[in-house]
């Protein structure tokens, strides 16, 4: 296990290589805190949308009896398999002024590129498939007989989910949330196409690399790790503690 951890984290050695004095302010004054703020707030919003929209879909795929599930699974896999930059291009075209829907969004005042809305929408698109795949596996692992037993004891569907399905699936759901968070927060390829502004951390890393080289990239990498890690870590600790208490 130790050997595996060392191998897995070996690339972090790169942070210690001599690249010259680190430039903490990046390419422009205030760009680093702005990128952190954009990444954390908008990714949190995207994650909330992913959980709200993805959980019922994952539940349907885990518990539904219809043959149509195969079609929905294929649709979700397409979103997962799509190269990020290709997804970004497709999102730009589909939500751009060239389509009736994109034109309508513009008419009602929603900017579909280089805006917080574009940033969040792109993050939702790149991460929701991963969330659904992981959440579906977690929900499917809960024995259906336990849910039926709870229903026979008088519980409504929602109460069964809240009191039986969710507590038993929570470790897997925590993993699904973590995957979605990391996937959305670290997204670069699709976001740089749809939302160069406002710049999140990954785009800012690229901007810094272009404008000031590696000394401006290293601090942002450290900040990215410090901001990306706490949420999934905390979720896992809480889920595992509750699991152990049960």
């Amino acid at each position: 296990m130790l050997l595996f951890a060392v191998a897995l984290l070996y690339p972090l050695i790169g942070l210690g290589t001599p690249v010259g004095p680190w430039i903490w302010n990046g390419g422009a004054a205030g760009s680093t805190p702005a990128a952190v703020r954009v990444s954390l707030t908008l990714t949190a919003l995207a994650l909330a949308i992913v959980i709200a929209a993805g959980t019922p879909v994952a539940w349907y795929l885990a518990r539904g009896a219809g043959a149509d599930r195969i079609v929905w699974e294929a649709a979700i896999l397409i979103s997962v398999l799509m190269p990020p930059i290709a997804l970004g291009i497709l999102l730009s075209l589909a939500f751009g002024p060239g389509t009736p829907f994109g034109a309508w969004l513009l008419r009602v005042g929603v900017l579909t590129s280089n805006s917080p809305a574009a940033f969040v929408a792109t993050q939702v698109y790149v991460s929701i498939g991963y969330y659904i795949v992981a959440a579906r596996a977690a929900l499917a692992a809960v024995p259906r007989e336990l849910e039926q037993t709870a229903a026979l004891l008088g519980l409504t569907r929602w109460a069964v989910f809240r009191r039986v399905t969710f507590p038993l699936a929570r470790l897997g759901l925590a993993a699904a949330v973590s995957i979605a968070w990391v996937r959305a927060l670290g997204e670069f390829g699709a976001v740089i196409v749809t939302a160069y502004y406002p710049s999140g951390i990954p785009v800012q890393i690229w901007v810094n690399l272009q404008s000031a080289g590696l000394p401006a990239v290293m601090p942002l990498l450290v900040i990215f790790l410090l901001t990306a890690l706490p949420l999934p870590w905390l979720i896992h600790i809480v889920a595992q503690r509750r699991h152990a208490d049960a």
Binding site: E145, L152, L153, L168
Partner: protein, 232 residues
């Protein structure tokens, strides 16, 4: 009153059984393993949907159309205990109670706790108790809501003989005081006899005989039933 006609296809035969049972009465469904006994219970409980027939209990239509599980006025003890492993024994027993303090529920739960010997394990995790203990917890959880219809599928699996004696006496007593209608399924006559005065015998999904246990024993309708009824 329970009135049921259940038609349900299985891979090797079709279950086609009619039941009629007065409110508060007990009926045993007796037969060899794989005869279709559990299918009958499962259809009444709603875990399986019959292909035809009708099920009504105390003015409520259970099928057709299939009534939602949480609206069925019954409790079902399946062959597996199906305890909620993330909860304590006490939380499992009280799981279906809207409020543990409502309508004398606390006193009743306390009686279940003591009669079924659950006191020492009340705070233990349900995932960490023995098979025999789990069976008693499942029984207590089922009865905690004081259901009007109780379905028991091999209720005393994994329990020793003295405990079975205690539990059958307790169940008979509770049936008198609560007044629930009881249907019990097992392939062991000695278990069912203590719970229900009347029985129907099933073979390959069909009722082959119905009546008091003494009638069945005096003139079994089929050789297979005679073998099942014969003392060990």
């Amino acid at each position: 009153m329970l009135e049921a006609h259940i038609v349900k296809a299985r891979p090797d035969f079709t279950v086609d059984v009619r039941l009629s049972l007065a409110r508060g009465a007990g009926l045993a469904i007796f037969g060899a393993s794989g005869a279709g006994k559990s299918t009958v219970l499962s259809c009444i409980a709603g875990l399986e949907t019959p292909e035809a027939g009708a099920i009504r209990f105390a003015g409520t239509t259970l099928y057709p159309p299939a009534l939602a599980l949480n609206r069925r006025p019954l409790a079902y003890l399946t062959q597996r205990d199906l305890l909620f492993p993330h909860l304590s024994v006490g939380a499992n027993v009280c799981f279906g109670l809207p409020s543990p303090n409502l309508d004398g529920a606390a006193k009743w739960v306390d009686e279940l706790k003591h009669r079924l010997g659950l006191g020492p394990i009340w705070s233990a995790s349900a995932g960490r108790i023995s098979g025999g203990q789990a069976r008693r917890v499942a029984l207590a959880r089922m009865l905690a809501r004081r259901p009007p219809l109780v379905l028991l599928d091999e209720p005393f699996v994994a329990l020793d003989r003295p405990l079975i004696g205690d539990l059958t006496r307790a169940l008979a007593e509770w049936q008198r005081t609560i007044g629930f209608t009881l249907i019990a399924v097992d392939h062991r006559r000695e278990i069912l006899e203590r719970l229900c005065p009347r029985a129907i015998a099933i073979e390959h999904g069909r009722v082959v005989q119905e009546g008091a246990w003494s009638d069945l024993a005096a003139a079994p309708a089929t050789p297979a039933l005679a073998r099942l009824l014969a003392p060990d």
